[in-house]
């Protein structure tokens, strides 16, 4: 396990995220995520990244290391804010959130985040459908992508707007094994999620 974490830390450092360590997520009871914006009931053993991401809207967990699988939580994003931390003069900016966004606006915002921040060179939408998330009318966005590391990954984002704020959970994992392995737990966590 330690080797996995060391590898995970190194890999995440290379990808630009500053991860200082991981903490095991309690497997019982409700757990606040995304700076307390949401609460979920974890399924399975997950490790929460301790990082500079505390100042960002993102929080991520992993089971087998961030190269293999991650779950992101983004909560209570206000009108005009982005789902990632970015500077005003960045050459390429992830589109900011607006409460009036249509489903295609929400999904292309996530796609741009992957292309800009995760270096996705190939990005394919495989499904967009209406779902209930956080008790709200939401969107389930399924996709796959590949970046410079030549590893095909799959992803599922659950998005909902409540009180004019955006809430999002995303699972990403390697198309070979890890995405499929984590998907049932992710779906269970998404079903258990609630807003504070």
């Amino acid at each position: 396990m330690r080797a996995v974490i060391v590898l995970a830390v190194a890999a995440t450092a290379l990808s630009g995220c500053e991860v200082s360590g991981y903490a095991l997520v309690p497997t019982t009871g409700a757990v606040p995520v995304a700076n307390g914006a949401m609460t979920i009931h974890p399924a399975g053993a997950w490790n929460k990244a301790q990082s500079a991401a505390v100042r960002s809207p993102e929080e991520f967990w992993t089971q087998n290391g961030p190269v293999l699988d991650r779950v992101y939580f983004v909560g209570a994003v206000k009108d005009g804010d982005a789902i990632v931390k970015q500077r005003p003069n960045d050459e390429r900016k992830v589109p900011v959130f607006h409460p009036t966004m249509t489903p295609q606006d929400l999904t292309s915002m996530v796609e741009s985040a992957y292309r800009i921040r995760r270096g996705a060179k190939v990005f394919e939408t495989t499904g967009v459908k209406p779902v209930t998330f956080l008790g709200q009318q939401g969107v389930q966005f399924d996709f796959n992508y590949m970046g410079d590391d030549d590893v095909r990954r799959r992803g599922r984002s659950m998005l909902a707007v409540a009180g004019e704020k955006l809430y999002m959970m995303t699972l990403e994992g390697t198309a070979l094994h890890y995405f499929d392995a984590a998907l049932p737990e992710f779906d269970a966590m998404a079903a258990s999620a609630s807003i504070h």
């Binding site: 292309r115 190939v122 967009v128």
Partner: protein, 397 residues
């Protein structure tokens, strides 16, 4: 681990060290007295070059199986045709690998592996411009620049070689050596520029095409800087710049091309624009999607307006709307709506333009027309991956 190694090898051999990328150029080299140092069927003889080729062969095996490869037989056949125009029989020594990557780039390894980024394909306006890049890369190949660079690096200190592998940050350990390394690379780039112009001229492409590329890139960068309220900076001012000194390079290329044209004023050049447009037309939706979804609106709008010089079509209008939609600045909703409306009025509008048009109308309060546009989208793309979502939106309004 395999993946990270692949990335490392790719960057190191083909990017930083070999200088075979479309990269910095130094003082102008005249396009005279440059003869090929590689003949058809050339194989390396000494240990240095054999080692280099073996490393590149291993890299090529990985590239050939990469998921980022654009497998398009028609495109590869077209590129081979351009290479044959430039190099005649020697083109058979080269293997072509189009790569999904929105950055403007191309590279050729010493063993004859040509990699062409999709970000290059989207920016070229005619075959002559594309041939200018291939000519430049062929210049590196035919003048065996990589082995020269490789030996030069080997003659520097061992510490320096290791540092070089880790890029500019590592190079800071010895600024003097780093400067000489980059200066040398720039000389080779200038030689490759000059050699490329010779090849262009020999294939009856207008030599001025090479300078046009840099004018377009400068225009795009200036548009991007303006968009962000930043001053455009020609990055050649940085001694350690890994980006092209574009103003200077454009000037050199233009002057050399003019001199070449003067030598043979009667030559009939053909930029083969129609052939180029026909070759990239099937790829254009993918190429524009890659660029526009990066949400770099200044560059994207510049590119779209460049491509629309001969008139806007449904596809270009759709991506103009997408650019405004993603930027979402004041007034962009209206600009996007106008662009989508223009797109769906064109006979070649992609189905997605109707979806975007429909949502724009719904947002603008025009429910009836919005529903009609979304319905049209579902008619055109009944099995679309977001059909359920669009049907749901229809039922809501």
């Amino acid at each position: 681990m395999q993946a990270s190694r692949r990335e490392f090898v790719g960057r190191t051999l083909c990017g930083c060290l070999l200088g075979s990328l479309w990269q910095p150029a130094a003082a102008r080299v005249l396009a005279t007295d440059l003869t090929p140092l590689v003949s058809s069927g050339y194989r390396p003889t000494d240990a240095d070059e054999r080692g280099l080729w073996q490393a590149c062969d291993r890299l090529e095996q990985q590239v050939a199986s990469s998921g980022l490869l654009l497998s398009d037989a028609a495109l590869k056949s077209y590129i081979r045709g351009v290479l044959e125009r430039l190099l005649d029989g020697q083109a058979t020594d080269l293997r072509i690998y189009p790569i999904r990557n929105p950055e403007f780039n191309a590279s050729m390894t010493p063993n004859g592996m040509l990699m062409v980024h999709t970000g290059l394909l989207v920016r070229m306006r005619n075959e002559a411009q594309f041939a200018a890049v291939l000519g430049h890369e062929s210049g590196h190949y035919l003048r065996r620049h990589s082995v020269k660079n490789w030996r030069d690096i080997k003659h520097k200190t061992a510490a320096m070689s290791v540092a070089a592998m880790f890029g500019v940050a590592g190079l800071a350990v010895n600024m003097g050596l780093a400067m000489s390394l980059f200066s040398f690379s720039r000389e080779l780039e200038s030689e490759a520029d000059a050699y490329g112009l010779q090849l262009l001229k020999g294939a009856n492409y207008p030599p001025g095409a090479a300078g046009e590329i840099w004018a377009q890139l400068i225009g795009e960068r200036k548009a991007s800087a303006r968009e962000r309220n930043k001053l455009y900076k020609d990055r050649s001012t940085s001694a350690l710049s890994t980006h092209p000194p574009t103003e200077e390079r454009m000037r050199d290329l233009t002057e050399t091309a003019a001199a070449l044209a003067k030598e043979s004023a009667a030559a009939h050049y053909d930029a083969r624009r129609e052939a180029w447009l026909a070759a990239v037309a099937p790829l254009r939706p993918m190429l524009l999607e890659e660029q526009v979804k990066l949400n770099e609106p200044g560059a994207s709008l510049y590119l779209l307006e460049s491509l629309a010089q001969d008139g806007w079509d449904g596809l270009l209008r759709y991506y103009e709307g997408e650019t405004y939609r993603l930027r979402a600045a004041t007034g962009d909703s209206e600009r996007a709506a106008q662009a989508y409306a223009a797109a769906v009025a064109a006979p070649d509008a992609p189905p997605e333009a109707f979806r975007a048009h429909g949502y724009a109308l719904l947002r603008g309060g025009n429910g009836e027309e919005g529903r009609r546009a979304l319905t049209r989208y579902l008619e055109l793309a009944p099995h679309a991956v977001d059909a359920d979502m669009v049907r749901f939106s229809l039922n809501q309004h």
